[in-house]
Amino acid sequence: MHGFANPARFLRLARWLTPLLLVSGLVVAGAALAWGFLVVPPDRLMGDTVRILYIHVPSAWLGMGGWTAIAVASLMELVWRHPLSGIAARAAAVPGAVFTAICLVTGSLWGRPTWGTWWVWDGRLTSMLVLLFLYFGYIALADATQRDGNGSRVAAIFGLVGAINIPIINRSVVWWNSLHQPPSITMGQSSIDGTFLWPLLVGTVGFSLIFGGVVLARMRAILADVQAEARLRRKAAV
């Protein structure tokens, strides 16, 4: 793991891995969405709206996964001073926020025909909205601390503290009464029939590959900006 702390080694790997992850992710996610949209039959209770599952659920998992990645990278930055971990945390924030927003909007579009309402202030929906605001706060804080040259330790602490919301989102449908259904997939178990489950799993793999590709692309962008700025500063100092 520490081997990739070297930016040059990371860039050698990321140069071919970024397009590979993005292209394979777009192909796999596209195939899973087509499968869910065209092949999967309507559900007995939810009818055609069950197809929203293939966008909504991977987005929800990646929204939470994005913050988990920020928390892990922040911990690595604070404990081991890993040079790339702060950059990785910053790079995961935008895709995490985008998937959280997609999850909230598609959830609302699913709620209207199934629950009869666009929104309810229950535990699951509210904690997911809080996650989106945490992402906005993290992005603003990371940008501001980088501009001021204060490093990203403040953002790293924020990333760690914000992780408290992840188990709250996960357990919200168990702890509080909610219109949202309880978990259908837990560790090694699923109450979803295979007809509906397989395209969901394939789609999750596809969207995860896209997430990984976007994080690598954004890490490369941040790293290139840091290197260009350092070079200009050296030139100005001479």
């Binding site: 969405l33 009818g47 709206t49 209207r112 025909p113 896209i210 976007v214 490369r220 290139a224």
Partner: protein, 46 residues
């Protein structure tokens, strides 16, 4: 009174949000990365 909602219009809207949002994010990140790497190469005098 029960509303008669066309379920497929909600499905279309959800797919549009998901697909367009994902594609926009991929395109934005890729373009930003290429632009940043061009700026770095330019600062090196490449």
């Amino acid at each position: 009174m029960r509303e008669a909602l066309d379920q497929m219009s909600f499905v279309y809207a959800a797919y549009a949000v998901g697909v367009l949002g994902t594609l926009a994010m991929v395109a934005w990140s890729w373009i930003a990365m290429r632009a940043a790497e061009r700026r770095r190469d330019k600062s090196r005098g490449k």
